[in-house]
């Protein structure tokens, strides 16, 4: 069973002749432990899709189903609860609070949700250790590299034990080395920690970490590609590539 899926999800901005169809009857799903990349040229509807999946915007037509419940039938209050507890968000520019330490930044979603501060900070520390930041617990964002800041943001996204992590161009502000590390970490979030991960990216290098790529164009899904080839073929591909390069 998929954790999140969309049914004829459609978003139209404006009315009449000036109406712009940003999403056009999109049907897609993400399973638990699956990492899916959404790609497509600018203006293809990637961001709109992400906003609708995250309950940040409401569709014109169709619906988003998360863990069996439809986002469109929920009250604003219930929607806020889902956003806080079931979905983790990761952004291109990290969106960390400048004056807070890594621990306080990562603990923020729990504290805003009214949880005990000491327990929240304890949990934040555990997640920061898991994402490889044991040495940077007390540092403020300006004392961290861009890659480390994104790790804090990922710890913050995971602290509420969400079922789904939505990442909007998570490597868009990172150099290629840090990009690889963050993409590998998001893959780990899905594979090792069992969350469904959906990332929007335009970087082929990052998309290649996913299990599946959904291609959007003019608001429609034009293709879906499963990346995991059978193990034998994987080895064959790599051996072929290396031979071609070296000789």
């Amino acid at each position: 069973m998929s954790l999140i899926h969309t049914e004829n999800l459609t978003k139209v901005y404006g009315k009449g002749e000036t109406a712009v169809v940003a999403l056009d009857h999109v049907n897609m799903s993400v399973n638990p432990s699956e990492c899916v990349a959404v790609m497509g040229p600018s203006g293809c509807g990637k961001s709109t899709l992400l906003h609708l999946l995250g309950g940040l915007d409401r569709p014109t037509e169709g619906r988003v189903m998360i863990d069996g419940s439809s986002l469109s039938t929920l009250s604003d209050n219930a929607l806020t609860q889902i956003r806080r507890r079931k979905i983790g968000f990761v952004f291109q520019f990290f969106n960390l609070i400048p004056i807070l330490s890594s621990v306080d930044n990562a603990a923020l979603p729990l504290i805003l949700d009214g949880k005990n501060s000491a327990q929240s900070r304890q949990k934040a520390t555990e997640w920061l250790q898991k994402v490889g930041l044991s040495e940077r617990l007390g540092n403020r964002p300006d004392q961290l590299s861009a890659g480390q800041q994104q790790r804090v943001a990922i710890a913050r996204a995971l602290i509420t034990d969400p079922m789904l992590v939505l990442a909007d161009e998570p490597t868009g502000n990172l150099d290629s080395r840090a990009s690889d590390e963050i993409a590998a970490l998001l893959q780990q979030v899905a594979k090792e920690w069992g969350r469904a991960v959906l990332m929007v990216t335009h970087d082929p290098r990052i998309a290649a970490y996913a299990d599946r790529i959904v291609f959007l164009k003019d608001g429609k899904v034009v293709n879906e590609t499963r990346l995991e080839a059978k193990n034998d073929r994987n080895r064959e591909i790599v051996a072929g590539e290396l031979r071609a390069l070296a000789s």
Partner: protein, 193 residues
């Protein structure tokens, strides 16, 4: 000729015999699965280098069995090696089969160019995924040669994928602005106004 210069470089390190050279070459490229050089190629290369005066043979008798031929680099060989290290190397552009497939599809109308691009994209993404997976499993401390080659293979694939995106965008442009048709020229003498 990369093998030729590699042999010179390995002999600059110290004199070696043919068998040793091949083993050293294999170690440098990270295994014969990356770059397989047959013993015959090593000996032919040594032979040519010797004729050009870039290496010289030192025969050393062994206690038992046939004598081994040990090769050492000459001053001329060192100079050739120095030049190799000093110069840049032109990138290799090979004929791209997908390019010709796309153009034939476009011109003949026998295939949908968007479908061709999507099929190729799927193929390349699967390759890139395989490369990415292998690279994350390789140990940077023990498998440097392999990792460097995997990085390179990945970046080539990335470039090809970006090129596919750009190609698709160009096809969209052409579709929105139909190719200009040749104007029908008025025949006969121009009319007097």
């Amino acid at each position: 000729m990369p093998v030729r210069h590699a042999v010179l470089g390995l002999l600059a390190q110290r004199p070696r015999h043919g068998y040793e050279l091949r083993a050293a070459f294999e170690a440098v490229v990270g295994g014969e699965e990356n770059w397989d050089v047959k013993p015959a190629q090593i000996y032919t290369t040594l032979d040519r280098l010797e004729k050009s005066g870039l290496v010289a043979e030192e025969s050393v008798g062994q206690d038992a069995g046939p004598e081994k031929r040990i090769y050492a680099i000459t001053p001329a060989g060192l100079e050739t090696l120095r030049e190799w290290f000093a110069d840049g190397i032109a990138s290799e552009h090979q004929h791209d089969e997908f390019f010709i497939k796309l153009m034939v599809g476009l011109v003949s109308g026998a295939a949908d160019p968007y479908q061709l691009i999507q099929t190729q994209r799927t193929h390349l993404y699967q390759e890139l995924h395989a490369i990415t997976t292998q690279r994350s499993r390789a140990d940077p401390k023990k498998e440097l040669a392999k990792i460097l080659l995997l990085d390179k293979a990945g970046m080539y694939l990335e470039a090809d994928l970006r090129w596919l995106d750009m190609t698709e965008a160009r096809l969209d442009e052409i579709k929105r602005q139909p190719l200009p048709q040749p104007e029908a020229k008025p025949r006969g003498r121009p009319r007097k106004i």
